[in-house]
Amino acid sequence: MEQGRKMVEVMNFNFFYGHAQCLKNISFDIAAHQVTSIIGPSGCGKSTFLRCLNRMNDLIPSARMEGSIKIDGQDISAPGLDVVSLRKKVGMVFQKPNPFPKSIFDNVAYGLRINGTVDKHIGDKVEESLKNAVLWDEVKSRLHESALSLSGGQQQRLCVARALAIAPEIVLMDEPASALDPVATAKLEELIIRLKQKYTIIIVTHNMQQAARISDMTAFFMQGDLVEFGLTNQIFTRPKKQITEEYITGRFG
């Protein structure tokens, strides 16, 4: 897998809730095996954009999109697309840890079971996923306890393990650390950096230090526009646009 391969290609993409346009003519490419962070003030459309990549917005009746998003060369904005196979390829971790009220094991096994993995392979895959999410050592002795007995940080890493279990190529993360304390956040960030060897990570974050610490590329969204996209280093040290500089230096947002 070469480094520079284009994983996601966004072309003239628009998104509407009813009559309100939330994303305006977005175009950029996301490379494989990199961490790309999306930053911007609240309501700028960054979460909406993320949820377009696995078609989670389909849950909202009035949502509508125009333009194209290609993942691995396949246009995923077509209405007749098989969203189930898309979501197997594009995993997601949410803002608030949301494990199912089931055991730790069953949480990770959930995606495998609904995708018809044979029972004898499930144990191995669960172990592998928990190891990938650096959670195995903490939970190996209590796999059959409720997932809700874990701490917030552990729950979030469990959600990562759950997403990894079905072997996605891309992992979307929607402010995954916003409900976590600093120690749990540090562990999660470490995990994200490690995961990019195997996966392409796209993360929405409110926390600019976080974006600077973990990402290779950064996209700055504002009021539905993609204002600036480039190397994280460049965006945070020599932004091309005035407004980007004002945002990252904390003058608004």
Binding site: M56, L59, V84, P101, I166
Partner: protein, 291 residues
Amino acid sequence: MVRKEKFIEGFFFINGMAVIIVLLGIFVLLIVNAIPAFRDISVWDFLTGKVWNPEAYGKPSFGIVSMVVSTLMVTAGSLIVAIPLGIGTAAYLTDVASPRVREIAKPVVEILAGIPSVVIGFLGIVLVGPIIAKLTHQTSGLNAINGSILLAVMALPTIISLSEDALSSVPKSYTEASWALGANKWQTLITVKIPAASSGILAACMLGMGRAIGETMTVLMACGNASAFPHSFIDPVKTMTATIAIELGEVPYNTTHYYSLFAVGLVLFIFTFFVNLVSDTFLHKYEKVNR
């Protein structure tokens, strides 16, 4: 001002107490009138006897097993029909129906709860009965399965409405997590939403069952009222409620027969009390989980 306040306080206190006293009074009346029955009948014979023939010349018998079995049969039958149908409808309303359909269907379901039981009993006689008679090649369709179908119709609004509440209060984050893992609507419903709402759904079914056990007019009209021990769902049955309703009006005052009907009422009360207690426990557990 203070006096006015005291007066209002007192007024509500008396109201609240009155309700509690009336309810306790009913319970006490039931017990006091049931006890004299056991001067002439042994509790054992009462609870295990199969024959209920209080007016028999010479040796009357007071066994409630047949009517208890009848009640349980009709109730179980109604639940077998109502639970899958009710949960299915609730799932349809929460997950499949468009908001417009939901807005219309939910009140319609709740109106169903307001249909007088005598009207449902009437439908049992003129509509369900003849169909059952035709299908089973019997002369009459007034039997246990007729009562089960009608009671199912009566329990459905409760089951649908409460299950729908339970399913729609499953956190959206569970649904999203399941969708994001490539599950379709059906898999999400079966493997995530129904398990997460299970205690609420269980409580809904228990309340529906409470309604079915205590219902009188419908079963009295539609079940055929034969005191014999029922052997199948196409036998006519006489439930506990129907027995009390039919016989209490005719029975001579202060006889063993009179008191024994109160004893039947007491047994029925114990049944419904436990059903309500269990459903209440589930309902509270479910409130705690979803808080």
